[in-house]
């Protein structure tokens, strides 16, 4: 009887979920210590964070809006991770997806055209890292980070140069009305959120219910065994980069096409920066599982949406959220966190 709780946890394979929850808890705990160290009130900060994230219909809409792009970049990381690749390149593909939406909807103001071109450019930008990995053995962490910086400067040039808005140089030209994503229920939330959830479910189906996805996962677990089993691990790696690039590219396009009232990339690319990195945190908390990522993304979306009220009411700089996210990711990296805590609890009790 004494251990029935933990037996249930092991039988239902809830360990990953519990470990993620513990990581989140530790993130908030250390975040509170940091806040106290700088003379802020953590209780006040967290209270306004929660109110800002879920307090009203518009707040919930904004939570889901923030969840959308990081769901897409998290899928990029997770799909690659399942193939045994640490793809940090979501950031670069995201920029390219965003600028693709701006460029191509200005040619033909059609929503689907903008989304498809975003996916295409995102996928194209993932190819150099894929080929360098497979044919030159270059570690993807280094190549994707370099490609992110190259993408940053290239897209920045397009944003301040050829595609700058002549009547408002702080932004690019706007997405034409005919290509904007429809909004849901009289809020600022666009159907991008629905498309992101569909993308996550499709990723799940692809990875776990198709032969193709099985091959990808098999080569991620053991590439030599996969080769023996008739899977070409090199091809699996290239496809994981490409599908990952599609996800981030689509994320970038949806961000710009579904973001009222701007519908443009803003100065210094402020509204497209950082989603690739946040996506890594989302993927790790979601345990690289597409369905887990949906929930993790909504949770991270809450953190982002709540920050403006937290900053305004509790006067806490919104960057504290990134501190908490960093601690959560480090905690997730502790192997066997659940067993570790159970053991120390038993010792304590």
């Amino acid at each position: 009887m004494k251990n029935s709780g933990s037996d249930l946890i092991e039988r239902l394979n809830l360990k990953p979920l519990i470990e993620s929850l513990i990581a989140v808890l530790i993130g908030f705990l250390i975040g509170a210590i940091v806040l106290l160290a700088f003379n802020y009130s953590p209780l006040e900060a967290y209270y306004w964070l929660l109110v800002g994230a879920l307090g009203s219909k518009d707040d919930i809409a904004s939570t889901l809006s923030y969840a959308t792009p990081i769901m897409m970049t998290a899928l990029t990381f997770a799909i690659s991770a399942r193939t045994g690749i640490f793809n940090i390149g979501a950031e670069g593909s995201f920029y390219f997806g965003a600028i693709a939406a701006v460029i191509f909807t200005s040619i033909w103001g059609n929503m689907w055209f903008g989304l498809v071109m975003g996916m295409l450019l995102g996928a194209l930008w993932s190819l150099p890292a894929a080929f360098l990995k497979v044919y030159r053995g270059v570690h993807e962490v280094i190549s994707t980070i370099m490609l992110n910086w190259i993408a940053w400067f290239f897209v920045l040039w397009l944003v301040v140069g050829p595609y700058a808005n002549p009547s408002d140089p702080n932004k690019t030209i706007r997405i034409p009305e005919s290509a904007r994503l429809p909004l849901i229920g009289n809020t600022d939330l666009s159907i991008a959120f629905v498309l992101a959830v569909v993308a996550a479910v499709l990723s799940y189906y692809l990875l776990w219910h198709t032969e193709f996805g099985f091959g990808m996962r098999a080569s991620g677990i053991n590439s030599r065994a996969a080769r023996y089993g008739g899977v070409n691990p090199d091809r699996a790696v290239i496809w994981s980069f490409v599908i990952g690039g599609i996800m981030s590219g689509l994320g970038g396009a949806m961000k710009i096409m579904g973001e009222p009232p701007t519908y443009a990339i803003s100065q210094g690319m402020a509204n497209v920066y950082g989603f690739g990195f946040d996506g890594i945190g989302v993927a790790l908390v979601g345990r690289n599982h597409p369905l887990g990522i949906i929930f993790a993304a909504v949770f991270f979306g809450m953190l982002r949406a709540g920050t403006s009220l937290m900053q305004a009411r509790a006067m806490v700089p919104l960057e504290i959220i990134r501190v908490i996210q960093g601690i959560i990711v480090i905690t997730v990296a502790i192997p066997g966190l659940y067993d570790l805590i159970k053991k120390s609890l038993r010792r304590g009790g």
Binding site: F86, G137, F277, P317, E319, R322, I330, A333, P335
Partner: protein, 295 residues
């Protein structure tokens, strides 16, 4: 381009080399012992921040450098506990440390100095001021560290043991070497050097703390480590090359020969090309990034 500009670019390239060389040399040592870390970007950022903070509190730039080293050492211990003792993945904690740096630094700048985005450091390290730009004594320190690290790694019993632990931990273990201890302290050493490099950026070189000041240098240092073939001496040369291109880019950008963005892209494009050209020939230590469990 006149002679003065050439000398000035050369001098500045030595200044720009310091954080890359220190991080690369530290990473070489750590990977020779078998521990991979990709968290140096975050280490550079956080040690730049805490280094500047310590320098201003104590009024001594040297104390700031030590503060940066301590920051690096603590992060190295965190990474070492997760990877060496708990046998965890080597890449994920590095991602976490990088994310942490992206949060701690902008938050700290606002919370501690009350300004957003950037802080001018009040206490900076003494340097030689020449007609062509300043030269920090840290340039010499960096060269010395690279030379001494090479010597210890390849010419002393300590270095032999460190390399044995990364190359063949089973044999090392059989000879009575404490694999975990050597791996752990090698990780700490690697991160400490990166911490010195980070503090150098804020209290000796740039004189500012900024949330994007590491600008990919942590990763460029890793690329340089691969380029060097895991050798501190070649890492010194490679680090200077990257420093040179970094300086050249900042020097060329305002001239508007081509759009500035394309010039600023240069160091990253070159890193990619160099890494692509070199790998295949270069071979990491055999047990690099793999946890070792005693049978």
């Amino acid at each position: 381009m006149d002679a003065g500009s050439v000398i000035s670019i050369l001098i500045n390239s030595f200044m720009a080399m310091v954080p890359i060389v220190l991080t690369s040399v530290g990473a070489v040592w750590s990977e020779r012992a078998g521990v991979v870390s990709i968290g140096y970007e975050g280490v550079l950022l956080m040690s730049a921040f805490f280094g500047a903070m310590v320098a201003e509190i104590t009024g001594h730039a040297t104390a700031g450098l030590i503060g940066g080293m301590l920051t690096g050492a603590l992060l190295g211990m965190l990474h070492g506990i997760l990877t060496v003792y708990l046998k965890g993945d080597h890449v994920i904690p590095g991602i976490g440390i990088n994310l942490l740096g992206m949060g701690v630094v902008p938050f700290g700048i606002i919370a501690y100095w009350g300004t957003a985005g950037q802080h001018q450091v009040a206490v900076t390290l003494w340097s030689w001021d020449t007609r062509y730009g300043k030269v920090s004594p840290m340039v010499l320190v960096t060269v010395a560290i690279a030379l001494v690290t090479w010597w210890v790694l390849f010419r002393t019993p300590l270095g032999l043991r460190v390399r044995a632990v990364g190359e063949n931990p089973e044999a090392a273990d059989a000879l009575g070497i404490n694999v975990e201890k050597y791996r752990f302290w090698s990780t700490v050493y690697g991160h400490t050097l990166a911490g010195l490099g980070g503090a150098y950026m804020s209290v000796a070189w740039l004189g500012i703390v900024q949330k994007t000041m590491s600008a990919g240098r942590g990763f460029i240092a890793l690329a340089n480590m691969v380029f060097s073939g895991w050798n501190p001496l070649t890492a010194l040369l490679g680090g200077w090359l990257f420093g040179f291109f970094d300086t050249l880019a900042t020097w060329l950008a305002p001239l508007h020969v081509v759009p500035g963005q394309f010039i600023l892209m240069l160091p990253y494009v070159l890193t990619l090309i160099i890494v692509a050209g070199i790998i295949g020939k270069a071979r990491p230590p055999k047990w690099d990034g793999k946890p070792y469990r005693r049978e």
